[in-house]
């Protein structure tokens, strides 16, 4: 007598509902491979970033520096490409340098947070301003464009009808899912997020696990910055502005708890795709951008409330089951 587990399927169901509604309202514009490819392309940067940031969420931390680290790494890749003569090799060096900068930024976050026991939001709030400053200094606060074919290909090249960033997102999702679901490190991440003291007593190197999470977050933020710069063929201190909110929102819509210990990669990717569909739908329905923010906010609240309701329902059921077995004290 197994009840249908709504909460387990609520996310795919919301997606399907969205797709059905949009298909009925705008069948021609919405239901094309080209449009799907567009939606995925537009969410790919957020998707890539959330694959790393989810680690930070899972240990109960947060990263407020996503947007400006994205700008800083975008500037790094573009500036280095120019500096080394706009060759394909220069692009490669730039990409590696940007990724290194991202990883280093994450390591610094992790070290400061775990060594001095400062809340993550304070540390990343401060570094956000530092990264913005660095991006401004490197560009003299101007927009630097970059149309080197080897660079623009990162964001625009298509394979089987889908642009490269979509594949990046998928690969990152698979890697991130694998680490969290299959490796010992992943198990430790959930344990540290669930109870760091018990984890330490169980022999887990809590500090190391935590720093690793921030490094992964920095890496994916840098990859997102590279892809975004390539897509827009330019970099400036405002590259990726607003992405901190978008990445956190994608995680939250996807059921990742900001208190730590709970959340999955498929959930987070769902959150990103749902946000993309929403933007796309508003676009196709010709909702003026002045109203789009309003609608987006409402839909986010509905989605999160829905998830919270499912959670409440689940925990009630749990409580009931415990009572039924007579195991309450």
């Amino acid at each position: 007598m197994k009840e249908f587990n709504w909460s387990k399927y609520s996310k795919p169901l919301i997606l399907v509902a969205f797709v059905v509604i949009l298909s009925i309202l705008r069948p021609k514009a919405f239901l094309s491979l080209n449009n799907f490819s567009n939606v995925l392309w537009s969410v790919s940067v957020i998707g890539i970033m959330v694959c790393g940031t989810i680690f930070v969420f899972l240990i109960g931390g947060i990263d407020l520096s996503i947007a400006t680290l994205c700008a800083f790494t975008a500037v790094v890749v573009v500036e280095i490409t120019h500096l080394l003569g706009d060759t394909p090799v220069a692009v490669c060096v730039g990409v590696v340098a940007a990724l290194a900068v991202g990883a280093l930024a994450g390591a610094v976050h992790g070290l400061i947070i775990t060594t001095f026991h400062i809340p993550a939001f304070l540390v990343t709030f401060a570094t956000q301003s530092i990264f913005l400053g660095l991006a401004m200094v490197l560009t003299n606060n101007k927009i630097v464009s970059c149309t080197v074919p080897a660079f623009t290909a990162i964001g625009a090249m298509k394979i089987l009808g889908f642009p490269l960033p979509v594949y990046f997102m998928l690969v990152m999702a698979v890697i991130s899912w694998f680490i969290l679901r299959k490796t010992v490190y992943g198990r430790y991440v959930y344990a540290v997020g669930g109870n760091s003291m018990a984890s330490a007593i169980s022999g887990i190197h809590v500090k190391g696990v935590s720093i690793g999470c921030y490094v992964l977050s920095g890496l994916t933020t840098a990859l997102g910055g590279i892809v975004l710069a390539s897509m827009t063929q330019q970099a400036s201190s405002s590259t990726g502005s607003g992405y901190t909110n978008d990445v956190i929102t994608a995680g939250v819509i996807g059921g990742v708890s900001l208190l730590g210990g709970e959340g999955t990669v498929p959930g987070a990717i769902f959150g990103a795709v749902l946000m993309g569909l929403l933007n796309n739908g508003l676009n196709l329905m010709s909702v003026p951008s002045t109203h789009a923010g309003l609608v987006k906010g409402l839909v986010i609240i509905v989605a999160v409330a829905f998830d919270a309701m499912q959670h409440a329902d689940q925990s009630k059921k749990k409580a009931r089951k415990v009572k039924k077995r007579g195991e309450s004290v």
């Binding site: 198990r187 018990a198 007593i201 022999g203 749990k318 409580a319 007579g326 195991e327 309450s328 004290v329």
Partner: protein, 506 residues
């Protein structure tokens, strides 16, 4: 002592999803009595209390307050009648003062402003009346758990409560704090306040209660008057089988010195002077009990041995090999550790039994490349569940929603999946029901028979005598007494822990 009936619950029935939890239960509390409510986990104590306080609705039956039928649909209803519940999880707010906590949300006003003078005076009056060791202006942050609990009680009294419900009030208190609470309870009783006292600790119930209602399997098993409350009888009624209670008060200790030394601690000294120059040995197959009062430094010593905290000086060797002070290194050498604070240090509440049991054991769980073998992980969890009867037996069950006894089994279970040389357990049965306690004792005994050295830190004297082969007693950071191959009584251990000379208790 006992006056008129203040609260009565008659013919209470309650079932969850068709499973009866309470069947035809009667419960009666008189004015000015301490009425204990006992029963094993799952006997229905908690459900009954939740019905009385309006958390659950009842299926059938009637509740009477001072003889009149009443409907209690929520906690506000029961507060209005004059019932206050002191929960295990305290709800005091640390940065506020005692008075601010007591009158939270009901502050006396002077125009738009809070009249702090009046509030402090009102609090002082309450404190004087019931002789609580508190001051209205102390900030709660500086107070211990015991005093915080008193604030909760004071809060209830400030609303003119006639009935206080205390659910496991001593679960997180030290011996001294518990003594203070008992004194307060006596005081309240003499002022005519009724108390429903729920506890697993039998000796508290014998000491305090005027009457005792025992529930078993959701039915009334017995209501005992004070003179009828005899330990063996209570336990027998509660669990439906005979337990030799008198065996708990004294014991002939036997230890085998010929067994090889497993753990050798030499001159272990704490950096902040919580313990100093601690030296002792544990032999293969020996259960060493560490007794003493709370705060004697026992927990700090075992934490240093296991490597959670680093000692300032001293040496620890296991099987002749010097230990590196870190939990990871200790685990790899074959040491297991069950911490005293189960909820905060023992397990990961959001994670399943499987993930909790596997947490320390990924070095021995099979892997395919970097990927953990889910099958092997699950297999380990199933073995643990079977070996020590963890319930529910669903390996995917979140540990956070299980009962205390089963949570402790999960914490213990992960160590049983390894080749252990030494197991350290700190207050292994705090807040656990009698049945699960017995199971945990047999696990420890079985480990010892298989050659594992075991250190048990416990403040429960009966438990200390029951499981130990040899007993060390600590006091204020020193080992003050060893009991070895002698007959020892609870009183002797207690006297040593309190620094009282032996002849004093004779």
């Amino acid at each position: 002592m006992a006056g008129s009936t203040i609260l009565e619950a008659r013919n209470i029935y309650k079932s969850f999803s068709g499973v009866p939890v309470l069947q035809d239960v009667h419960f009666e509390v008189k004015a000015g009595e301490v009425h204990a409510l006992m029963g094993e986990n799952g006997a229905g104590k908690s459900t009954l209390i939740k019905i009385v306080t309006g958390v659950y609705s009842k299926d059938e039956g009637q509740i009477y307050w001072e003889g009149k039928p009443v409907e209690i649909n929520n906690y506000q209803d029961c507060q209005k009648l004059g019932v206050a519940c002191i929960y295990q999880e305290l709800s005091v707010i640390p940065p506020l003062t005692v008075a601010q906590n007591v009158f939270l949300g009901r502050e006396p006003r002077n125009g738009p402003f809070i009249d702090y003078g009046k509030m402090n005076r009102m609090t002082q009056e309450l404190i004087d009346r019931y002789q609580f060791p508190l001051k209205p202006t102390t900030v709660v942050d500086n107070l211990g758990i015991g005093q915080r609990q008193l604030i909760e009680i004071l809060k209830g009294l400030s609303q003119n409560s006639k009935l206080l419900i205390m659910d496991e009030p001593t679960a997180s208190l030290s011996g001294r704090e518990a003594e203070m609470l008992f004194r307060i309870i006596e005081q309240l009783r003499s002022q005519g306040v009724s108390i429903i006292y729920i506890s697993h600790r039998l000796e508290e119930v014998y000491k305090l209660s005027d009457r005792l209602t025992i529930l078993r399997d959701g039915k009334n098993a017995a209501v005992l008057e004070k003179e009828e409350i005899i330990p063996a009888k209570v336990i027998e009624t509660m669990i439906g089988k005979v337990v030799d209670e008198s065996a708990g008060s004294k014991k002939m200790l036997h230890s085998d010195d010929s067994a090889e030394v497993r753990l050798d601690v030499k001159g272990l000294t704490d950096a902040t002077d919580r313990f100093r120059n601690i030296s002792f040995q544990v032999h293969i197959g020996e259960i060493l009990g560490l007794g003493g009062l709370i705060g004697a430094g026992r927990t700090e010593v075992v934490r240093a041995i296991y490597g959670i905290d680093k000692a300032a000086s001293g040496e620890v060797t296991l099987d002749g090999k010097k230990l590196n002070p870190s939990p990871r290194a200790s685990i790899l050498e074959g040491i297991g550790f069950v911490p005293e604070d189960r909820r905060n240090q023992g397990f990961i509440p959001l994670l399943s039994t499987t993930r909790n049991v596997a947490l320390t054991n990924y070095d021995i769980i099979k892997k395919n490349g970097a990927a953990i073998s889910d099958a092997d992980e699950l297999d380990m969890s199933r073995r643990a569940i079977k070996a020590i009867d963890i319930r529910p037996s669903d390996p995917d069950k979140q540990v956070g929603v299980m009962s205390g006894g089963n949570q402790q089994k999960v914490v213990l279970g992960k160590w049983l999946m390894r080749d252990l040389k030494l197991l350290i357990v700190d207050e292994p049965t705090a807040g656990i029901d009698v049945g699960a306690k017995d199971e945990i004792y047999s696990i420890l005994e079985e480990l010892a028979q298989n050659g594992v050295a075991v250190i048990v830190v416990t403040s429960d004297l009966q438990e200390l005598l029951r499981v130990s082969h040899r007993i060390l007693v600590m006091r204020k950071g020193d080992i003050v007494k060893e009991f070895k191959n002698v007959e020892v009584t609870q009183a002797m251990v207690l006297a040593a822990g309190q620094g009282v000379e032996q002849e004093a208790e004779k």
